[in-house]
Amino acid sequence: FFPRKLKWSKNNLTYRIVNYTRDLTRAEVDRAFKKAFKVWSEVTPLNFTRIRSGTADIMISFGTKEHGDFYPFDGPSGLLAHAFPPGPNYGGDAHFDDDETWSTDSRGYNLFLVAAHEFGHSLGLEHSRDSGALMFPIYTYTGNTGFLLPDDDVQGIQALYGAGDRDPNPEHPKTPEKCDENLSLDAITELRGEMMIFKDRFFWRLHPQMVDAELVLIKSFWPELPNKIDAAYENPMKDHVFIFRGRKFWALNGYDIVEGYPKKIYELGFPREMKTIDGAVHIKDTGKTLFFTGDKYWSYDEENQVMEKGYPKLIEEEFPGIGNRVDAVYQKNGYIYFFNGPLQFQYSIWSKRIVRVLKTNSMFWC
């Protein structure tokens, strides 16, 4: 919050779009702002009405450099926008830097996302230190459809105005905590020597030379990838990371999605009726990739690009003791690490047995 918890003393607020950017059509700008207000009105009793003349509570404008409020913008990138906390005159007003390239997708700065953040300030929210929150001060692209206001922002705005009675999506995403006792994971892979540990909308980057894991939104690296991925593995020979979600899978080469993807998992040789893959791990020594789905696993020959004969097999038969399902899996130094809920099992490929049971969050030295 701002000092003294500044807020509006009324629930019916007006806004006016004073001018437009040339990057988008007027209709696109109108839609972006309307949608951005809706983010906040859905979780509070606040109502926003657009007016086309006179002074509104929230005056919205595009400007460059010094634009009349003594808080100049700085040209392309850097500062994108700013907004004043609730109050008279400039209070609540939101200004957007027209030296930026604004877009309705991920090609420029997404106007809807920036506007939703700025209107948070207009309503009384300061910056959050939760990197998954809308009110985190650094711009991150979070996808173009189905935006869900993160829980941290909901807690903040409802502390000021209370909850509304029309929230169509009461499930607001929380930012995962790496040291959560009950932490479970979606997928794990290596990427050029780093570990990437996927959970919900995020992944943690764990570099051997970094002391702490960095939490990053999946969309900020790969805008086209879905959230909540099922499985991932690296094929270092091809310098590709493969990402699985539902029946589709993508091949990544650094920041780029390899041409021709996404593909369907049946193209790998799985039965057409198979819906998801729970975990995948590439075994460098054999050149085989193991896919885990339900209580079974498959072996894929990367060199010949065929599923091996004799599969699927029961997980329990080959890897006794790890349970009958796998959330995520990776291989390192002759061991396969299987994750199942809050536990991980360290399995020795050489001695074919579990050598250690650890907490899932021990990945992060918790």
């Binding site: 000092p3 990138s77 500062l79 700065y109 300061e126 001060p137």
Partner: protein, 85 residues
């Protein structure tokens, strides 16, 4: 420039000016009025510490690569509420 970095070879003068501007914009760093200097006070270091703590970086009060990298990312510049009031 009052950037408290003893071994600042890695940053150019422009980098240091950029960092100071960033702290002035987002952390209300005030320029020292000419001729007046507080003893034992280094407001740049204090503001850097404030910023590093907010973003969960290692809090050193010294401009390092990680802090500088974060400063370069596109962000919101909510006007300072104290000044606004």
């Amino acid at each position: 420039l009052p950037i408290p970095h003893e071994d600042s070879d890695e940053f150019t003068t422009e980098d240091l000016q950029f960092a100071e501007r960033y702290l002035k914009t987002h952390y209300n760093l005030r320029s020292n009025p000419a001729g007046i200097r507080k003893k034992n006070a280094n407001s740049v270091a204090a503001k850097l510490r404030e910023m590093q703590s907010f973003f969960g970086l290692e809090v050193t009060g010294i401009l390092d690569e990680e802090t500088y990298e974060l400063m370069q990312q596109p962000r919101c510049g909510v006007p300072d509420v104290g000044e606004y009031n």
